[in-house]
């Protein structure tokens, strides 16, 4: 019983982390049709900025509980700076080009950002561990879990709910859905597509950075951490269907729970299990579980 409960809890915690990262990736793809390889570096940037801010915060002797505010602050700061710089400075010149070209462009951005991180922070690891244990633990079936991890689940749910609300209930969200549906018709109807792209990429960047910011207190912030995460994020969005918000949620849940079950019951196949599930989904649903039906093109 303890085993099943811990599989579920560990799976949900891991899924939350995956969802926060993957949702930004799928949002950008859904609107802009860009498979953003730089997403991992933006995640790393969020983690580095958070580690720096948290480091200064605790070195300054400020109230430790307010350090939690630094996490979203870092995500917003990275999103507002890096998002517009990349979108306005580079990507807007590439719109209309083949998706493969954009993959290569964002891969170039990933490499540049990796070196920027190395230039600014060096190759030493950073840690922002203080917030992780600050809220204490709680026990489930005799196993201790940190309140911070529970908070991660809450944040993921809030992000999902907020995005769903914005997309379905607000004017801006409906404009965005219109662009997702058909960019050219949207432009013809007077929607400022360029602005929608800018807002979407900035929001996607913020979500990537938020993933990094939330994970920074749990890990050692090291070079190449972004490269590792992008592979998992792709697995999630491919399972769920590129561009689909519910798909990202379901993909994250599947990957999180499968991985957790493998770790608990069959650790030898932990790595294999994620990609096995991905392969299985792609055999039956080549465009992912929540892919939108496409009109046949001649």
């Amino acid at each position: 019983m303890t085993g099943l409960v811990s599989v579920l809890i560990d799976g949900v915690i891991y899924s939350s982390y995956l969802f926060i990262i993957a949702v930004g990736l799928t949002l950008i793809y859904g609107v802009m049709k860009i498979l953003n390889m730089a997403h991992g570096s933006l995640y790393a940037l969020g983690a580095y900025v958070t580690a720096t801010l948290v480091g200064y915060w605790f070195a300054g002797g400020f109230n430790p509980y307010f350090s939690f505010l630094l996490l979203p602050l870092a995500a917003v700061a990275v999103g507002l700076v890096a998002g517009p710089v990349i979108e306005r400075g580079l990507l807007r010149f590439m719109y209309g080009k083949d998706e493969i070209v954009l993959v290569l462009v964002t891969y170039a951005v990933l490499l540049i950002l990796e070196d920027v991180i190395k230039l600014v922070w060096g190759v030493e690891s950073y840690s922002a561990f203080q917030p992780y244990g600050l809220l204490g633990n709680f026990d489930v079936a005799g196993l201790p879990y940190t309140v911070y991890d529970a908070m991660l689940v809450v944040v993921a749910i809030l992000v999902g709910v907020a995005l769903t609300y914005v997309l379905t209930q607000t004017r801006q969200g409906k404009l965005l859905l219109a662009v997702i549906h058909d960019r050219e018709v949207s432009a013809a109807m007077g929607i400022n597509v360029g602005r929608v792209y800018l807002v979407t990429f900035t929001a996607g960047t913020m979500l990537a950075a938020l993933g990094g910011a939330l994970i920074a207190p749990k890990v050692s912030v090291v070079p190449a951490m972004g490269v590792e995460v992008i592979v998992l994020a792709f697995a999630v969005v491919v399972i769920g269907g590129l561009g689909s918000l519910p798909g990202a949620a379901l993909g994250a849940c599947i990957v999180g729970l499968v991985r957790s079950a493998a770790v608990h019951f069959l650790p030898e196949v932990e790595l294999f299990s994620i990609y096995f599930v991905m392969a299985l989904v792609l055999i039956f649903r080549p465009k992912g579980l929540f892919s939108a039906p496409e009109a046949r093109k001649i």
Binding site: T2, G3, S6, V7, I9, D10, G11, I13, Y14, Y17, K118, G122, V123, E124, S125, S127, F129, Y132, G133, N137, L143, P144, Y145, T146, D149, I215, P217, K218, V219, S220, V221, V222, P223, A224, M225, E228, V229, R259, S260, V263, H264, P267, E268, E270, L271
Partner: protein
């Protein structure tokens, strides 16, 4: 007048000769000096392994090269240069995977014309480069990677390793844990899913079972390298009922395991032994939970002996880099001093003339030399693989500083199989040659 001219002429000739010799010395200084020895040094300068391993190793190399060229290293290495020749270093980044490293190795040998290569932290890179060293016939010294497969699965002429294998780390870890917890019934492991982690766990598991046959394995977790998140693994370890958890995690993974495991009580409920934990002490300090058993992959860092060479190394490193040297710095220094010892020995055997590569190799085989971590014997792999004693200790924070308690030293002979015997067979036979 003639007499005077007759006297003056030889003086002028002597003066002219002296002037010409002085000028020649000024204009062509290299002609009078030994041609430098060019060493390719390969270590992680980017990526996750750079901070904990690559950069300390690079710093150790730079410090040693400067000191060797200036003749500042204490005896028996006080003579300037290597075999009297100054040392030039060509630094290469180990990041990028084995395919890239194979290309980089070829570049070092065929384009940069290095005299030898010292390098490689990753066991995967060592396994990839080893056959290439034979193919290109270039003296290559592995300084850090731990997999014992290199000299157990093949025989090499041009390849040496001045650092002991991971066998030593894991046999010593098992000995330490059995002594510290004689009543332990179950143990578990969390190791990275590649050559280093797999070999480490195999050796530790086999050693534990050889030392205490009734002991059981709770779980063996093998997350991928740089996974970063170990929530599920920590739960699995906590529910496994293990008394001891073995990990060969390094760098960011080791730090993440501590940061995620400590708040959840993993380090209180079980005794965690970190075979490569010493750099983590340098980086996390008192964040390392009390009671964690720490290894340094040899008698390095906090376990280094109180010798003149170690005191010099430690002082010079701290003065230059404002931080204590961790074991990768020690192991790089050990490799450079091993090369110097081999060259100097070969040169002495060659009547003081610069030895060729084959003469250096002959001198290197079965060599015993001193490093900042103590005596190193090239005793395995037909004289190409080093053995060395090691030590383990238990972390305890005292006065805001992390210290080592219950330190136990283990001699090399107790931790390594005899030459020609495979680690696996040796451990399974109860640490005896079959």
């Amino acid at each position: 007048m003639n007499t005077s001219r007759a006297r003056t002429a030889p003086r002028l000739s002597i003066a002219a000769c002296a002037l010409a010799m002085a000028l020649a010395a000024i204009v062509t200084p290299t002609a009078a000096q030994e041609k430098p020895i060019k060493i390719g040094v390969v270590t992680f300068l980017s990526g996750a392994a750079a901070g904990p391993f690559g950069v300390p190793a690079r710093d150790g190399a730079e410090l040693l090269v400067e000191a060797i060229n200036a003749g500042q290293v204490p005896a028996p290495y006080a003579k300037k240069g290597i075999g009297g020749a100054p040392v030039e270093m060509v630094l290469v980044d180990e990041a990028g995977g084995t395919t890239k490293q194979v290309n980089e190795y070829r570049n070092l040998v065929q384009r940069d014309n290095v005299d030898l290569v010292i390098g490689y932290i990753s066991s995967g890179d060592c396994l990839a480069v080893a056959p290439l060293a034979e193919e290109l016939k270039k003296l290559t010294v592995l300084f850090d990677c731990g997999t014992p497969r290199i000299f157990e699965d093949a025989s090499y002429k041009y390849l040496f390793r001045t650092g002991a294998t991971a066998t030593m780390d894991n046999v010593a870890a098992a000995l330490y844990m059995i002594e510290a917890k004689p009543n332990l019934k179950k143990f578990a492991g969390i190791n990275q899913n590649y050559a280093w982690g797999q070999d480490s766990w195999t050796d530790f598991e086999a050693s534990m079972k050889a030392l205490k046959p009734a002991v059981e394995v709770g779980t063996s977790q093998m997350p991928k390298l740089l996974a970063g998140q170990y929530g599920a693994e920590v739960s699995a370890l906590l529910t496994s009922g293990a008394d001891v958890v073995h990990t060969s995690f390094w760098g960011g993974d080791a730090e993440a395991l501590i940061l995620q495991g400590a708040p959840r009580g993993l380090f209180e409920k079980t005794t965690v032994v970190m075979t490569a934990g010493e750099p983590t002490l340098v980086r996390l300090g008192t964040q390392v939970p009390d009671g964690t058993v720490i290894g340094a992959r040899g008698p390095f860092g906090v376990f280094a002996p109180d010798s003149e060479l170690n005191r010099w190394f430690r002082k010079a490193y701290e003065a230059k880099y404002k931080v204590a040297p961790s074991y990768p710095a020690y192991k790089m220094a050990q490799a450079l001093l091993g090369v110097k010892a081999a060259y100097d020995k070969a040169q002495a055997a060659n009547g003081g003339k610069r030895p060729n590569q084959d003469q250096v190799i002959a001198a290197f085989e079965n060599l015993s030399f001193e490093g900042p971590g103590g005596k190193v014997d090239m005793a395995l792999g037909k004289g190409h693989q080093a053995v060395q004693g090691t030590a383990y200790g238990t972390a305890k924070a005292v006065g805001g500083k992390i210290t080592m308690t219950n330190v136990k030293e283990y001699p090399a002979a107790r931790l390594n199989p005899p030459d020609g015997v495979k680690t696996e067979d040796w451990i399974k036979a109860g640490f005896k040659a079959k």
